[in-house]
């Protein structure tokens, strides 16, 4: 038996006492009229009725009033809205579009811009580029990368990968194109990526020569190798060479370099002319993790120091060359930041417009309803009551509109993710979450 809101225990005892005294007086009156006491007790109780039910009924008075009125207001509101389908549909649709669009864009913004990368200590990760007077943003050169890595005092570690390319794999079903990538061994540990099977590269494997080992992506393992639990040791036939698999990576998002199917140690390329030439910049992406507590200016100064030394030592390639640092997080999303924010602003305006529109509709409607309000006031409705009922009406519209909008947004999200250009980073992580709903409401 649920006791409603404002019922207190004292009231409970009082009611008990009241009922008891009622029964006693009833019995006494019967006895005075000549009834047998035992008979009187029974008939008095029978006439009173079920004590429990009476108590319950009395207690219910304390919870129902506002709830009752709310139910009334809601029912009335729904009825009124049903009577004017044109208005209701227009209002709900407008709100739905506004809310749906806003939550969609907000979700995208949230997952692309606001969430940080799924690497541990992602805030300390920095992208390292070089710049020359005639070329302000270059990928690092291989020898520079190695010197920076060896001589840095501020970075815990610097790792690198080369922008992925394609090779042909000989498979039982015929030749297949496979995306390959070259990484420095410490990239995995720096980004907190641990293999689900096998291992990643050891430092001594990171060199030119035969016996090139491979680490494959989770998707490749699942799709091409059938998720074979004994995949370690199997060989792949790539570009005519036979490559042993030494590790399987965990499932990963699509952005570089994890979209590649097969990874090799980057040291394999060390002797190639592209790599050994310090003046050459063959598309190597260098990522470093700052020591905890190291500031950006300290890091920049450290890099400058090393570059100055290199500039003196190798003036032909490195004179005037500098390092440009950027936060990895910002770099990944920066290209789209302006566009996304503008989109968000635009959609926010749409929502405002939609709300204004609906408010307008409501206003024009209430002018028509002047007569209805006058009659209700004459019948005894307090202004507060009428106001409350209007609020309930508006709330109903907002709730329906909001729900519709969210449905629209979630329906639109999936095709949006599929259709968008591949290289918007992290769009595949976009999803509706509770925060968006709160904002929408």
């Amino acid at each position: 038996m649920k006791k409603p809101g404002f019922w207190s225990r004292r009231r409970d005892r009082d009611l008990d006492d009241e009922i008891r005294s009622h029964l006693e007086m009833a019995v006494r009156e019967r006895v005075e009229r000549g009834e047998d006491p035992a008979e009187a007790a029974n008939s008095a109780r029978r006439e009173f009725g079920n004590v429990g039910l009476v108590k319950e009924a009395a207690q219910q008075e304390w919870g129902w009033v506002w709830l009752d009125q709310l139910m009334q207001d809601t029912r009335h509101g729904l009825r009124i809205l049903r009577l004017e389908p044109g208005f209701t549909v227009a209002a709900v649709l407008t709100l739905a579009l506004g809310i749906g669009a806003t939550s969609l864009v907000f979700s995208v913004v949230e997952s692309v811009l606001l969430k940080s990368l799924p690497y541990p200590d992602a805030g300390r990760l920095m992208l390292i580029h070089e710049s020359l007077p005639k070329a302000p943003q270059l990928n690092v050169s291989w020898p520079d990368f190695q010197d920076l890595r060896a001589q840095t005092k501020v970075f815990e570690d610097i790792a690198a990968f080369q922008v992925p390319g394609n090779v042909t794999m000989a498979a039982s079903s015929g030749p297949k194109t496979v995306q390959v990538n070259y990484v420095s061994p410490s990239l995995f540990s720096m980004l907190g990526i641990r293999p689900v099977l096998g291992r990643t590269f050891a430092d001594d494997e990171d060199k030119a020569g035969s016996g090139l080992p491979a680490v494959v992506s989770y998707r490749f393992w699942r799709d091409e190798l059938g998720g074979d639990q004994n995949a370690i040791g199997r060989t792949l036939l790539l570009n005519g060479g036979s490559i042993p698999i030494i590790g399987i990576l965990p499932p990963a998002p699509k952005y570089e370099p994890w979209g590649a199917d097969v990874h090799f140690p980057i040291g394999f390329l060390a002797n190639s002319p592209n790599f050994s030439d310090r003046g050459n910049h063959p598309g190597i992406v260098a990522i470093g993790r700052r020591r905890p507590g190291a500031s950006l200016s300290q890091t920049q100064m450290d890099m400058d120091r090393i570059m100055n030394l290199l500039g003196d030592e190798y003036p032909a390639s490195n004179r005037g060359e500098q390092v440009v640092l950027s936060d990895l997080n910002e770099w990944m999303t920066g290209g789209y930041r302006t566009e996304l924010l503008m989109l968000l602003a635009g959609v926010g305006l749409v929502l405002l417009l939609a709300s204004a529109n609906v408010a307008n509709l409501l206003l024009s409607r209430s002018v028509k309803r002047d007569q209805e309000f006058a009659v209700r006031a004459a019948l005894g409705a307090s202004p507060a009551r009428i106001a409350r009922q209007l609020i309930v009406e508006s709330l109903i519209i907002s709730l329906i509109g909001g729900a519709a909008g969210i449905l629209l947004a979630s329906a639109a999200m999936a095709p949006l993710v599929r259709l968008s250009p591949y290289n918007i980073p992290r769009l595949d992580e976009a999803h509706l979450d509770a925060r968006v709903l709160l904002v929408a409401l």
Partner: protein, 120 residues
């Protein structure tokens, strides 16, 4: 201008009449719950019964609305009884309820005996 309120459904009608009867009974003096139910029965010639399942909720309701106030007193028999009285607001409400009731009776009478029609 006296406030008139339209009865919206049957339940409300019954609640309204019981409340009116309670207020009217209390006009003749403070009374406890048992006494009120006896008075209503007696004054209506034993036709109207205020059963406890309606009476006590009604008393709670009227108390919440501030139309009656309840006090615990000790009777001659050394027992605790709760005595209800009309508040000032209750007196005003009684007047307006009565006039509304009169209006209602007249309206019903008029509706049931239309002028110029065939006598039923």
């Amino acid at each position: 201008m006296p406030k008139t309120e339209r009865y919206q459904n049957r339940i409300e009608l019954l609640q309204g009449t019981l409340d009116l009867l309670i207020l009217q009974t209390l006009q003749w003096g403070p009374q406890h719950g048992y006494g009120i139910s006896q008075a209503i029965r007696a004054n209506s010639g034993d036709i109207l019964r205020a059963d406890t399942g309606s009476l006590y909720p009604a008393l709670q309701r009227l108390g919440k609305k501030g139309l009656v106030s309840g006090e615990w007193k000790v009777s001659e028999n050394k027992q605790r009884v709760k005595i209800y009285r009309l508040t000032t607001a209750g007196k005003k409400e009684l007047v307006s309820e009565r006039s509304r009731w009169e209006t209602f009776l007249q309206a019903m009478s008029g509706a049931l005996n239309p002028k110029g029609g065939e006598p039923l």
